[in-house]
Subunit: 338 residues, 2 copies
């Protein structure tokens, strides 16, 4: 049996559960190789099974490494689970309330992060895919010629996505952010129909064989912008240098936050220092104030400090870091692309 | 106070709830005009409020029509709600279990579809945006010159998205499907790196000012493909003709399904006949076997019968229908684009 499944079965046994219900598409993909397009109930137990939507049966039968049956009704699915003696059922924290409500009268239920914990530690094969996604994304970025670009934010975002797809990505890993001028102070800005202003903040990523990349670069033009850029770059570099197995995620956040606070911009750094990525663009753990997870070899986490001056501009710099003996930046795009 | 909020307050009162928690981004957008980019807790009560992420505060303050406060912690949010005398709290069916679990010890909780029910009935302004999205999408489709197109599925999908953005869309309303040859038998196929084969099935849509469009066309080339196309077209046309306020959604599904079954392909029509759309690409109600919702004026629902012959090919034809005195197709793209 697949190692991922064996590990989960061990977790279940320890906590006295007989089954684990997965419905999140990337979780089902992680376990079985089949990524649902409509809905699916993947139940990890001694003999794991996926109840798939009728419209997915051809795809699921082709891609899944575990048994697939067509979903008929909640009643029949629940009936079969009870017949197998399943009494205590673990669920994902993200399971929608209405789905939980379908199961709660028939099983003792609690949410468990077994699958998230497995997904925290990437295999060499997963890391290779993230590295390839990053390479595609960075190569595509360099093709944009940002410094001489007279296009609109929307056009630049679009050209970047096109380049990534031409370079082998299946798609972008999230809505590309091209935020320039005052818009750059919105961490999740939406590209506008305006010609690039200054500074230019671009946050982008590719998906390659299901795996995401994530980078941000900010090109600054004035002395004031450069001053902020230098602070963010210092926070970025020192946070990455501090990364090693054995210390806690929140300690890395503190390294970046302390530097920015030291320059008096603590209240302008309005998000966490980073997040894990993989099949999803946001995974756990993250470099945040409250995340006490101990960093381990095989984790892949972004480092993306930023300073946002409302009404003026913002600067963010982001790289993705693979944890081995220390934190290794994935890709080789300089922070300063001038 | 906004009519949407007033209606929900009335619903709450009837069911003896004191507040309604919304976290789904499009629900928060529907109520407040602010679309979260990270997370938000929108609480509908006598004095409605949104607890937004720190990184969204600039955006939320700019866009929201209701009060916005920065989210601090679950404890403080729950404390404030209790101080206001809130005992019974309604939630969305889609609320993640882990969020529900944060509230369940302090409130009596049940999920309610008040917001989905409001969103079922579109205002004239919403319908206009859906119509504009549809016009952009259909115009862009015609620019592709499918009949003489020698590009790959991936390239065609990409060109279609580019055309939609150039024609005024903010983005595609879902991952564009360009499925040709045998791949067309997968209802949610992913575009491949292969030059268009026959038949060509394209399922695509635009977003305009937040609102989605959705269409499918299939171009067939052989007699056998035409035979299947004719059956699907008959199901499509007769289902649309049957639409009028007062009859049930499942009756429309039955019209389409009976026709396809009559020709012996009942088991090859592997999904519902249609779904509502609006701010989301999939909303309720839907034209499905089990949906007993009575059709009302102002609903906007797709009609998209299909026949999928595994290993051979598939045909799907889809239009979006606005319900007034009868079912009016939105847009004017012929079913047969040859």
């Amino acid at each position: 049996m697949d190692l991922h499944i064996t590990n989960i079965l061990n977790d279940l046994k320890k906590d006295d559960f007989q089954a684990y219900l997965l419905t999140k598409f990337t979780n089902v993909e992680y376990i079985s190789g089949y990524k649902p397009t409509s809905f699916a109930f993947c139940i990890i137990k001694e003999n794991p099974i996926i109840y798939a939507s009728g419209m997915d049966m051809e795809l699921a039968s082709r891609d899944s490494s575990i048994e697939v049956r067509e979903h008929d009704s909640f009643e029949s699915m629940i009936g079969e689970l009870k017949k197998e003696g399943i009494k205590r059922l673990a669920i994902e924290p993200t399971l929608p309330f209405s789905t939980y409500a379908r199961f709660r009268d028939d099983f003792e239920i609690d949410s468990k992060t077994y699958i998230d914990k497995q997904r925290m530690i990437k295999t060499p094969d997963e890391i290779e895919k993230i590295a390839e996604a990053t390479e595609i994304a960075q190569k595509s970025f360099l093709q944009l010629d940002i410094l001489n670009n007279k296009n609109t934010e929307k056009e630049v975002a679009f050209d970047l996505v096109r380049a990534m797809i031409e370079n082998g990505a299946s798609k972008e890993s999230f809505d590309t952010i091209v935020a320039t001028g005052a818009e750059s102070s919105l961490p999740h800005a939406i590209p506008q129909d305006k010609v690039l202003q200054q500074p230019v903040l671009i946050d982008w990523g590719a998906i390659y064989q299901g795996y995401c990349s994530d980078n941000t670069r900010t090109v600054v033009y004035s002395e004031r912008q450069q001053e902020i850029w230098d602070i963010v770059a210092e926070a970025h570099d020192k946070a990455i240098k501090a990364i090693r197995p054995g210390i806690k995620c929140c300690e890395i956040d503190k390294v970046a936050r302390d530097i920015i606070e030291g320059y008096g911009y603590g209240d302008k750094f309005i998000h966490s220092t980073g997040h894990s990525l993989g099949l999803d663009i946001h995974e756990t753990p993250g470099f945040s104030l409250r995340d006490e997870t101990v960093i381990e070899k095989g984790m892949v986490i972004t480092v993306e400090p930023g300073i946002y001056l409302e009404g003026e501009f913002g600067v963010r710099l982001e790289d993705t870091v693979e944890i081995s003996k220390r934190g290794n930046v994935i890709g080789n795009l300089p922070l300063n692309i001038l």
